[in-house]
């Protein structure tokens, strides 16, 4: 949901508690939690709304973040630490430090970002 800051982090909390039940090693869990939270916040701040899909297989854990636009204008810039286009309201809530995407890339094992004005699709993976 767009700009639904009150519920920010709910999806990540659910994902985290689910993965905890699976008994994954702590360091992988921590990386997934951080990445999932950052991506969820990104979606809330920038997108018109979207969905999160969690895939678990024997090779690894994959998270798919799919939104309905408006896309990232300059991916190269967005990947730079500290670059942010967050709106005033997001900054008020303490989000939008420009570390989202760089952080996600840092902690994830695979990182695949596709974007167009119709929507952005981010797929991140973690080997186990």
């Amino acid at each position: 949901m767009r700009e639904d800051y009150a519920n920010a982090g709910k999806v990540s909390t659910n994902v985290k508690s689910l993965l905890k039940q699976l008994g994954l090693p702590a360091d992988i869990l921590r990386r997934i939690a951080v990445a999932c939270y950052e991506a969820e916040i990104n979606m809330i701040i920038h997108s018109y709304g979207g969905e999160v899909v969690l895939e678990i297989s024997e090779e690894g854990i994959y998270l798919l973040f799919k939104d309905t636009g408006p896309g990232i204008a300059d991916v190269e810039k967005a990947m730079k630490p500290g670059y942010s286009t967050a709106s005033g309201k997001a900054l008020e809530f303490g989000f939008g430090a420009g570390m989202g995407l760089p952080n996600i890339k840092r902690v994830s094992d695979t990182f695949d970002l596709k974007t167009s004005p119709e929507g952005t699709c981010l797929r991140i993976g973690f080997h186990i």
Binding site: T13, L22, A26, R30
Partner: protein
């Protein structure tokens, strides 16, 4: 070690405990309460919730003093939370001695030592330290927040350190009695709950001693050793040092929120998180006579006159002996399979969390069905619906 016991004849089957337990450790079977030893962390929430004293935690009794030649009492700082000044504290100590102890050892210098030593650790650069002298929180992290085990400071409990000292001084003849302010601490001693490796012989619940203490109170005075740092450690948030990015959090719900946020790495401004499960820290313990509101003011008053010196320990001496309780990696695919089975069953259940089946929530009922302990027909709502349909 589980310390909470259930008394059948006092139970009125109101199911308050079932709903209250934050860890879903309680189930009801054949109209009897069962407490899961795996899930319970001795937080005592069910004891407060039960209005008929059906759930309780008892320590050893003063009769046990007679088994020892030398009787030593370990006294936590939090016991003084209903003393408004130093004289009161000295009177309380005199009353404690009259219970039959040969010597009282104040835990304050040990509590202070452990509390202060954390500062040394903070000089090292690490994102976040979590410490707790609260056994409930430690177990909570172990069981539900395993991601934070690396952030946890593994210091020994003050009472355990003190017991070691006393044992060295007096040898085997001494009986070491710990006065406990909460149910969880009853698990520290050999008796009554069988912690065989402990130097503490018996754990006594303070509230059970109170009639005896009150009989002798206000007569004599005896030395009460209190340290400022010790008081600070038991009264959560007293003299909180925000400048050093140290934050105290008290109360189970807030502790859990703080842990939840730290798992996402969101407590960036906090370097050290000091947690206690009871409201206002140990002075909110269930076995204390006074209340945590007055207690906080009293503790603040006592801090002004406290002049005890804290013990000196090196970081190595404080480290808890490792007992490698780290999470064993489970077979993930098996867990996943179970998870989807549980989900499937859960979809069939009404989702009211009514508790009539004896499980605290429909999800825990679904888990029980997946494990073969229950059947879908054991759900009262489903049964009723079937009956109505036919």
């Amino acid at each position: 070690m589980r310390v909470i016991t259930y008394t059948l004849h006092k139970c009125v089957k109101c199911m308050r405990c079932l709903k209250t337990c934050p860890f879903e450790a309680i189930t009801i079977k054949d109209e009897r309460v069962l407490i899961s030893a795996d899930k319970c962390i001795n937080c005592g929430a069910c004891i407060s919730a039960c209005k008929h004293s059906g759930l309780s935690a008892k320590g050893s009794t003063l009769v046990d003093l007679q088994n020892y030649k030398i009787k030593i009492g370990l006294v936590p700082s939090s016991i003084y939370c209903d003393c408004s000044n130093e004289t009161d504290a000295r009177r309380l100590n005199a009353a404690l001695l009259k219970l039959g102890f040969d010597e009282l050892v104040s835990l304050s210098p040990y509590e202070g030592a452990v509390y202060e030593k954390v500062n040394d650790l903070l000089k090292e650069k690490k994102e976040l330290y979590i410490s707790s002298f609260c056994p409930v929180v430690n177990e909570l992290i172990e069981k539900q927040y395993p991601m934070l085990l690396d952030n946890q400071i593994n210091f020994e409990y003050p009472s355990v350190l003190a017991a070691k000292d006393v044992r060295q001084k007096y040898g085997k003849d001494a009986g070491i009695f710990l006065l406990c302010e909460c149910p969880a601490k009853l698990a520290f001693g050999k008796y009554p709950y069988g912690n065989i490796n402990s130097e503490i012989d018996h754990c006594l619940s303070i509230v059970d001693l109170f009639p005896n203490i009150n009989a002798y109170r206000n007569q004599d005075e005896a030395d009460a050793e209190l340290c400022k740092e010790g008081i600070r450690s038991v009264a959560c948030g007293l003299g909180q040092r925000f400048d050093a990015q140290i934050l105290s959090v008290n109360g189970m719900d807030k502790v859990r929120r703080a842990l939840e946020l730290s798992e996402f790495g969101l407590l960036k401004e906090v370097k050290y998180l000091s947690l206690s499960a009871c409201f206002n820290g140990c002075i909110g313990g269930q076995f204390l006579w006074g209340n945590p509101f007055n207690g906080r003011i009293n503790m603040h008053e006592l801090m002004k006159t406290a002049h005890g010196k804290i013990k000196n320990y090196t970081l190595e001496e404080l480290q808890k002996e490792k007992d490698d309780l780290k999470l064993q990696p489970k077979n993930m695919m098996e867990q996943l399979k179970r998870f989807s089975t549980v989900n499937e069953i859960f979809d069939h259940l009404p989702g009211f969390d009514c508790g009539a089946c004896g499980y605290p929530s429909c999800r825990s009922m679904a888990e029980a069905i997946a494990d073969g302990q229950q059947q879908l027909g054991d759900c009262r709502i489903i049964k009723r619906r079937e009956k109505d349909a036919s």
